[in-house]
Symmetry: C2
Subunit: 430 residues, 2 copies
């Protein structure tokens, strides 16, 4: 019997603010960070999970991950892996911890990291990548992973099972398609707000060369800048490559509508995070006003209850599920199923540190087992910090290709702690 | 010039679970707790703020409060007190901390505690209770405390100012009324789910003797128990004393409707927290289905953006603003104004440790300066743990009476840390 012997948590921070990588209208100087958890066992087996943050406060998040992770020490790996849904229920319905959310913010993300670390451990034990393990589960097994308490007025377990069953005959073809062509990637790399016009133009040129079909630009700080930068990007990209814009919640509802209408001549593929992520009704108002340009959002959706409502009111045309924002894999699966029922495409949020590696498993599972139109799907890509991941993404010719190594993509290479541990790592103490 | 010299944070926990005080359908064994902040200065002056939690996880919350509070050390008290809105903006729009919410959960409550501690310091310096200091501000000054970014599509600063101006001529009469009669209190004391039927009946008898006009019972664990306990309460209380019920988020939307309809013969004054606090649309569905019984909710509303929407869809008939859930006094004021505009009564959540003492200031300010019908207002009361508060509530004849001591009600008596500090206090280490 293998036992969890330690829940090691480390505060990792990468000094991305130095180059203004990741800068947008709300986040001028992020230091991409991870409250990172390693579950150790008395065998060779380990499990890895994390919460992505952007710097200050990563210590608070790490404290929460450690506090929740500590509960697993001394438990049997067999039991945990065979009944991860039971662990999720135990943690998410712990009444005292729940008071700190409920189902949102620091405590919710911490629980998510712990659940995901157990999944990482589970699929490593199986010797498979996460997406493949999920495909090996029956529709009923997938449905049973989800907590339907607050969702079943819109989608109940029976309907969710039907959704999965309906797509089941297409799986072989869909798997063959992604094995051959991958899943389309789009790039946010050129569009950070802190980059000069020249750097924007250069990176747009590179995006074309790299085969990306869509480039995303940050907007919302200054309308004149937005016009100028969009014109530069369009000039380089031509009409073949699409452009999406991302305001990172910068606007109130009325301002969002005015600003997007002012930019609407730039042929925008979508408008991302126009306002506060909790404003379900505000998103609906914006979506109606700026149609046919779709709203896209999701990276800051705290839970599936908010996703349910956003889809109910057609407040988003694209759901951007995040790798570490919600209460773990089970809640991500719930969001995929809610989106499938609503006929809304899932184009996950990625970037940061480790988000691409982690969320691609969900994206591939969705494309193969759930989505209505897998050909319309994409996945965000930002080409930095991948060198720290033990199983970095395989992005070629503008597409993600199936990860083949065992695990959920969350493991780091050796030595990251010594360099990027905060504040004592060599990158910070120099 | 007075300077902040320390932000002292202590993890306080009271072993309320031993007596099942506070037990409900979701929280079987709470230990009422506070992540408690004391701002010390180089003068006699101190400022007190806290986040209420129910036990496990209070250490995580305390870590967050300490991390945010630390930023104030070394700053001038004058500047902080004269421009608390500036501090709130600095903390709530810190892009890196905001990633941990945004505007929700552990980080948001921590920022709220820090803002409230500065308010406590400010009004102590003025030598006034908080409600009185708020009344001394002009409508414009009140409106300027609030961040309208995500609210102004429904209520803009001009409209908010008008609301306050409209009620201004009534202030003298309203103040005289609460000075004479106080603000009606209702009691949750008899209705905890863990109490025996005999204890329920005894406490209902006592509630009648104490002059309370409404008793709240916890429901949602077992329908048969709910029927029986409601019948016992009604038998003791007669038809003069109202009964409200509280499910503490136990139900999904459909289950809430069924359960409440089954209980509707018990003449219920309101149904509290029928489902997940983030489910704005679910609340609207429930409210419509169970009318004319109103829904009441608010203690777990993470922010004013959610309150705005809940009021937009008429998802609640009573808004139960909490003392420590949101980002401090400014966000509570925003919620009061949103409720006033919607014509929805504010009947704050209280109980716990210190919540009655803190939230009464908001309740009195609302009754005097904002509410449409102050005669309809009430404030929750639970008669325990008040002995630990330096300025305990004055509840007599079923009413709260105006607090007169300087401060915002958040200060503790000396010696609490030594007894209830966790885990080293004498109450925990015995």
């Amino acid at each position: 019997m293998t036992t969890i012997t330690a829940a090691e948590v480390v505060d990792l921070r990468f000094p991305t603010s130095v180059m203004l990588d990741g800068s947008d209208a709300m986040n001028p100087d992020p230091d991409y960070s991870a409250a990172y958890l390693r579950l150790h066992t008395d065998a060779e087996l380990t499990g890895h999970g994390f919460v992505f943050t952007i710097g200050r406060g990563n210590d608070i998040q790490a404290t929460a991950v450690a506090s929740v992770g500590e509960r697993l020490v001394g438990r049997q790996v067999d039991g945990l892996c065979e009944h991860v849904a039971g662990l999720a229920h135990e943690l998410l319905w712990d009444s005292q911890l729940r008071w700190l959310g409920p189902d949102k913010g620091v405590i919710h993300m911490a629980i998510g990291a712990v659940i995901n670390a157990v999944w990482d451990l589970r699929v490593r034990r199986e010797g498979r990548p996460l997406w493949e393990s999920l495909l090996a589960l029956s529709p009923s097994e997938i449905v049973e992973l989800v907590d339907w308490t607050y969702l079943s007025d819109v989608l109940d377990p029976g309907q969710a099972r039907e959704l999965l069953e309906e797509r089941r005959p297409n799986r072989t073809d869909r798997l063959a398609a992604v094995e051959s062509d991958g899943l389309a990637a789009y790039t946010t790399g050129p569009g950070w707000l802190g980059y000069t016009d020249d750097k924007l133009a250069d990176l747009c040129r590179q995006a074309v060369n790299d085969g990306f079909g869509l480039v995303k630009l940050k907007v919302g700080h200054d309308l004149g800048d937005d016009h100028r930068r969009l014109a530069i990007a369009r000039d380089v990209l031509g009409s073949e490559v699409e452009i999406a814009v991302d305001a990172n919640q910068r606007w109130g509802v009325d301002q969002a509508i005015e600003w997007v209408q002012a930019l609407s001549g730039h042929d925008l593929r979508w408008v991302e995070e126009p306002t506060h992520p909790d404003d379900v009704l505000g998103h609906a108002t914006i979506a109606e006003a700026i149609a046919p340009i779709p709203v896209a959002t999701g990276e800051h959706l705290a839970n599936a209850v908010l996703a349910k409502q956003l889809l109910q009111v057609r407040g988003t045309g694209i759901l951007q599920v995040d790798a570490t924002r919600v209460g773990g894999l089970h809640e991500q699966l719930a969001m995929l199923m809610l989106a499938a029922q609503a006929g809304v495409d899932v184009i996950p949020h990625a970037g940061g540190i480790g988000l691409c590696e982690a969320v691609q498993h969900i994206a591939f599972f969705n494309a193969i087992a759930l989505a209505a139109e897998p050909g319309r799907l994409m996945l965000e890509h930002v080409d930095h910090l991948h060198e720290h991941m033990a199983a970095p993404v395989d992005v070629r010719d503008g597409a993600y290709h199936l990860p083949r190594l065992p695990g959920s993509g969350t493991a780091l290479v050796d030595g990251v702690d010594a360099s990027f541990g905060y504040p004592t790592g060599t990158e910070w103490s120099l």
